[in-house]
Symmetry: C2
Amino acid sequence: MNENPMFSPVRVGRAGEDVALQIEAAIMDGRVKPGERLPSERDLHVQFGASRGVVREALRALKQKGLIEIKKGAKGGAFIKEAELHNASESLGLFLKLQRISAQSLIEFRESMDRTITTLAITRAEAAEKQELLEGAIQLGNLLNKDDPDMDAVHELDRRLNIRLARMTKNPVFEWIMRAVQLGLSSHDAVLYEDDEYRSRTAGNWRETAQAIADNEPLKALSYIGYHYVMLQKCLEDREVQEDNQRAEGQDADFWASTPDIPGP
Amino acid sequence: MNENPMFSPVRVGRAGEDVALQIEAAIMDGRVKPGERLPSERDLHVQFGASRGVVREALRALKQKGLIEIKKGAKGGAFIKEAELHNASESLGLFLKLQRISAQSLIEFRESMDRTITTLAITRAEAAEKQELLEGAIQLGNLLNKDDPDMDAVHELDRRLNIRLARMTKNPVFEWIMRAVQLGLSSHDAVLYEDDEYRSRTAGNWRETAQAIADNEPLKALSYIGYHYVMLQKCLEDREVQEDNQRAEGQDADFWASTPDIPGP
DNA sequence: AGTGTTGAATGGCAGGACCATTCAGGAGGA
DNA sequence: TCCTCCTGAATGGTCCTGCCATTCAACACT
């Protein structure tokens, strides 16, 4: 490393970008491979002939891009990561969020995706994968049947089931889009599991869908998916009605204030 | 701003991320709007109670995410950017390269998108929009029939036609996803218009598809789309065969070198 | 009125210092 | 011999201070 430095000094004016580009290039050509460790910040700042702050900025940028992972302590440093979908999805999800896209549009898109994904998954996934999906769906039902369901866990499991299904298409593009849409939808999404009736039905529906997939019954599966989204639409409409009512309440708050429903001890 | 600081001091240990998250949150809920300017680094490092270096790292991370743009000099600073797809597409392209995602996967995804989009566009678009699409497809054919077709223009028009079609669904998600995939794929994509036979057929096929959409004939349109992607597959396979041959040439270069097919002047 | 100059604001960079975390290896005891 | 605890070195995280380059607006000068 010292006899044949991997990196060269940088131009002024945009030293940070230059450093980041050089390291990124090294990763791209495979001069450094996943799992390997880059030199320490203190070594790099010598090799590049730039200040440590500049090197740090570059490393943070690469970390943000998902190319490296940074560990503290002795034997720490910047390690090249395996390519991950997460960051690509995050960028797209960020964008979708910023576009303030209506829940309707996202849901419509998700339904069309789900239909394609399900069809592909049935034809391509191994039986074992289908079985795992079914077990996950059953587990989701169990979580929701508890007295005090942990909604975070439910939400997370639902997310994982969708990604697992997408992965069963054997086409990573579907997984990328699914993750991005989930991130972009996250704000609306939490809402949908709040409704008691909807969430119990939706868990059952997940189970039926997974069962149909495991049984290689594409039409049945698509039918359950259709039902799922009909429920979702209805749930959304109900919520809008509720919100309208709440706005009306806000204008006439005294009425409710005079009828406390939680008596003191 | 001074009486009611927008940001709060940060915890130690991950100050940089904390700063970035707070600013990102401020952008997300619209507390700062696109085009507006954030306080200067020197102001922020006071508001956050962190060092200027930390603030700088946070700003660079946000810049990398595509959320802000940084200008030097007086009246410079960090400006909130309009949401842009560019970064999402770049991340996708990065991932595709690192993972060596096959063109097959992308094409499969595009075909499924196209089918959904076409169906929706037929039911939702105005007659005028369908007519414009048809005219664009005809124009594409004219471009390709010239003696020396401008391939950049052809490519660009093809891109625009796809986006126009996506917009006809009246669902912005389809348009954004289409744009993201197009940008992320630009590297693979250019290849496909190089083949003479493929590109003349594909232009004709675009015209037929647009005509079917204008005529409200969804099945016909889907059928043409299917044909389009069959051609694409075939074109790709041909190219792979060609590349294999070229590799074979490399291994046995003497044979071909001894049979020059371009005689000298 | 036009033009050149200057100064302030701002981001970019350098270098040094110290802290917190992590891990390997050694010291000491069971 | 083996286990536990401690210590020190390596490393990233943070802070500070200073200076430079760029940009723009206000001002002075012609």
